[in-house]
Subunit: 429 residues, 2 copies
C-alpha cells in the first residue's frame, strides 16, 4: 500500500430507513448500526476500536420527523419513567462493502435482517438503497431492458400494449391458445399468463406453451408481427431452467417469474442462462410494502431485482383497483426508468408494467406523470370488453396514447377516433 | 372414471388468515377466494360454473372476531354511506392442489400473492397453512432433523448447547478459529457464524472454514467429540453449492443459510445435494411477522422451509432481547416439533434454535413450555461472560437443563452445582 497517497476509500452501501422509537433517536440509530455490523446487545471482547472503524456501520444522516400518538407496532420498549414519546425519523446508515461483498443475499441479511425485531423500535421501514457499482461485477442486470424489449416486440415510439389471459386458472391449453389467437389477431403486442397459472395438471406448461406458440407463429407468419408471450415459468430452479430452454426452442421472446416466490439467487441463476426477456411479477409485494409502519419500499425492493436481471416489473396502474395511491404508482414507475448506477456503468433501467383497471383513460395522466412512453400498458376489461370488440379495444389504447403524447384532450381526439370514443363512453367516469 | 364409486376428492391446500374489512365478511372472503383462483375484479367470459367448481378457491370457515376502532392499514375502501365498521375475522380458504401443483413457489403466489393489495382489506395476515402430502413427492424435507442432528453431534437426552462467534463481523479467519478453539475446549456442542459473516474479503469463506476446521479436527482428535459448525454459506446458488462441497470435504457436519435472503427454490436446490445438516437462519423474519395487521405467522412460514429441507430453524428464546413475547416463541418452537403430515408420511420435524439473551435461567421455563429437550440452546454472554470462564459457562447450561428435566428448582440444584450458582448470581434477576 502506498503511503504517499491517501488510502482508497472503501466502497459503501447505504440504506435509508423510516424509524419510530421512544429512545433518543441518535441512540436508536446507533443500535441499528451496531446490531447490523460489529456489535451485539453489549460490547463484546474483541470489538476493538480498529475493528469498529474497519467494519462498523455508520450513521450518515438522521432527520427527525413528527411524533406518533401511539407505537405503530407492538413489542417496543419505552423508557421506564415518564410518558413515552414515539418519535419518528429518517435515518441513513452505511456499511463498508467488504463486510459482505457484492452479494445480494448477504446484502439482504445486513440491510433487511434482524432490524425488524429490535426492541427499541415501534416502526421500521427500508426506504431506499444505494449500491456501489462493484455489484455489477457479480450480477448482470437486465439483458434486454427497455431497448431490448422494443427490439423484441418491434414497438417503438409508444407503450407496448398488453393484456392478461383470463380466467386466471382453469382454462385448458387449447382454450388458452384460442384466447391468445383472438388477442393477437386484434393487434396486441404483449400477452401474459396470470401469476396463478403455472404448471397444474389441467394446463401443463409444455402443452400450454406449444398451443400458444402455434397460434403466435401462425400470426407472425401472417402479419410479420411477433407477439411477446410472458409465459409463467415460476418454479424450482431446475424447472425454470428447463422451461426457459423450451421457451427459447419454441421461438418465444419472454418468460415470467413471480419474484417474491423464487428469491434473488434463483433469479440470478435464471438470468445467467436466459436468452429472452424476464417479466418480473411482483405478487406478494403488498405483504412487504403496504404498511407505512413496517416493511420495504418498492424503490428499495426493485433495485435488488433489476440488478439480478429482470427486464420488466409490475408497478400497478393509475386509478387501479388495488389499494395503492397514484402517487405511489408513479414513484415506482419513475424509479424503474432511473439509472441505478452513474455513467459509465449500465443504469439497469427496466420497463414498468402498468396494470389493474387500465384503459386509454389513464394514458394522459400516466404520460404526464412519467414523461415517457417506455412502459408496458397491460389492459384487461377495456380490451376484452370494448363495445367494438377486441381489435377496437387495442386501437383505443393506441389512440389514447397518441392523444396523450400530442397533448390533445381525450375527448377532442375521440371526435375523430371512434374506438377511443367508445372507450370513453363505456369506461369513462 | 368409475360411476359406481364416489369420485376421488382432489387434494386441497388450506390457508387460514386473519382479516380486517369494512365489507360484510362473507363478501370479503369471497373476494379473496375469487382473486386468488378463477376470478378477477369482474366475472369474465369463460369463468363458467364448471371452471369455478373445478378450480375455484373455497371458503372453508369464517369466524367473526371483534371490531377495530380504525383501519389498521391505509388504502382500504369503506362503504360509501354510513360510518365504516372495521370487522375482523379468521377465514380459512382452500384451493385444489391441481391449480398450481405441489410447487412451493407457485403455492406462495396463490396463498401469499396479490391478497395484500386488495382494496376491501385494512388488515391481512396468513396464520397457517395445511399442505397435502403430495408435496413430499417433490420436496425432501429435513435430511437430518432432530435424530440426525443428535447423531451428528453425539448429544442425547439434553439440548444441543451452542454459541455464536462474536463480534459478528470483523474477525480474521485466524481470530475466528482462535475463538472457536476456546469454545470447543470448553465443551460446546455447536457453534455458528453470525448471519452477517459471509464471504467478505476480511474473512473469506474458504480461509475461515479451513482455519476453524483445523481447530475442530484437533479437538475431535483429542476428545473424540465432533463440534458442529454452522458455517454461513449464504450466497448465490453456485456459490452455496460450491461452499457446501468444501464443507463436506473439510469434514464439517453443518451449513447455515439465511432463509429469507435465498428463497425457497435455492434452499430446495441446496437440499437436493446437501450431505450435512442445514441450519436455517430466520433473519428478516421480523419484517414478515412482527405486525399483527399484516404479514405471515411463523407457523405458516416455517412449514415452507421445513418442506424445502432445513434441519434447524431459529425461534428466538424466552425472555429474549428482541421484541417477541414468550408465548410467541414457545408457539413457534412447538410447531417445529409438530408433524406437518400425518402418519405414515414423514413429519418433517426440525430442531428449534433458541437464542438471544439465553442462559441456564431459561431452561426450566423452556422445558416446561416445550415438554422436550429437542432443541439447540444457543447462548452467548452467559457462556463467554461466565464468571468461572467459558467451560464453566457450558457446564452451567448442562446443570440448568439437568435441573429443568428433573423438576428441581434452579436455586436448589445450584447448591451443589457451583457453575449454575455462578450463573444465577451473575445473570439472575
Amino acid at each position: 500500500m502506498s503511503t504517499s497517497n491517501a488510502p482508497e476509500t472503501p466502497a459503501r452501501v447505504t440504506a435509508r430507513y423510516w424509524i419510530e422509537s421512544a429512545r433518543p433517536l441518535e441512540a436508536a440509530a446507533a443500535i441499528m448500526a451496531g446490531e447490523q455490523s460489529t456489535g451485539t446487545f453489549v460490547r463484546v471482547a474483541g470489538e476493538t476500536d480498529e475493528l469498529r472503524e474497519h467494519c462498523g456501520a455508520r450513521i450518515e444522516s438522521l432527520v427527525e420527523l413528527g411524533e406518533a400518538a401511539a407505537p405503530s407496532l407492538p413489542g417496543a420498549s419505552a423508557p421506564q419513567s415518564g410518558p413515552a414519546r414515539w418519535r419518528t425519523a429518517e435515518v441513513t446508515l452505511s456499511w463498508p462493502l467488504h463486510n459482505f461483498g457484492p452479494s445480494l443475499p448477504n446484502l439482504l441479511a445486513t440491510v433487511a435482517g434482524n432490524l425488524w425485531e429490535l426492541k427499541p423500535f415501534s416502526g421500521m421501514r427500508l426506504l431506499d438503497l444505494t449500491l456501489p457499482p462493484q455489484f455489477l461485477g457479480r450480477y448482470r442486470g437486465p439483458r434486454f431492458g427497455i431497448a431490448g424489449t422494443r427490439a423484441l416486440t418491434g414497438v417503438h415510439g409508444r407503450p407496448v400494449i398488453g393484456t392478461i389471459i383470463k380466467p386466471s386458472v382453469g382454462l385448458s391449453p387449447a382454450a388458452t391458445a384460442e384466447r391468445v389467437a383472438a388477442i393477437a389477431a386484434a393487434g396486441i403486442d404483449f400477452v401474459k399468463d396470470d401469476e396463478l397459472q403455472a404448471d397444474g395438471p389441467h394446463c401443463p406448461f409444455e402443452e400450454r406453451l406449444s398451443a400458444v406458440m402455434r397460434v403466435l407463429d401462425a400470426h407472425a407468419d401472417r402479419t410479420g408481427k411477433r407477439v411477446m408471450y410472458a409465459v409463467n415459468i415460476t418454479g424450482d430452479i431446475d424447472e425454470m431452467l428447463r422451461r426457459h430452454d423450451l421457451v427459447v426452442a419454441a421461438g418465444n421472446t419472454c418468460v415470467m417469474v413471480s419474484l417474491n416466490s423464487i428469491g434473488l439467487p434463483a433469479l440470478a441463476a435464471l438470468r445467467a442462462q436466459c436468452q429472452v426477456a424476464i417479466h418480473g411479477h411482483r405478487n406478494g409485494w403488498g405483504l412487504l410494502g403496504r404498511s407505512p409502519a413496517i416493511g420495504m419500499s418498492f424503490v428499495a425492493w426493485q433495485k435488488l431485482w433489476r440488478l439480478a436481471g429482470i427486464d420488466h416489473v409490475h408497478v400497478n396502474g393509475l386509478d387501479n383497483k388495488f389499494c395503492e395511491s397514484n402517487e405511489s404508482v408513479i414513484a415506482s414507475a419513475r424509479e424503474c426508468l432511473t439509472p441505478m448506477f452513474p455513467q459509465p456503468h449500465p443504469g439497469c433501467e427496466v420497463m414498468p408494467v402498468f396494470s389493474s383497471g387500465q384503459s386509454a383513460l389513464q394514458a394522459p395522466d400516466t404520460y404526464r406523470a412519467l414523461g415517457s412512453v417506455d412502459l408496458i400498458h397491460a389492459c384487461g376489461g377495456s380490451i376484452m370488453g370494448h363495445p367494438g370488440g377486441v381489435a377496437a379495444g387495442v386501437r383505443s389504447l393506441h389512440q389514447g396514447w397518441e392523444a396523450a403524447v400530442s397533448g390533445i384532450p381525450l375527448a377532442d381526439y375521440a371526435r375523430t377516433h371512434r374506438e377511443l370514443a367508445a372507450t370513453l363512453a363505456a369506461f369513462g367516469r
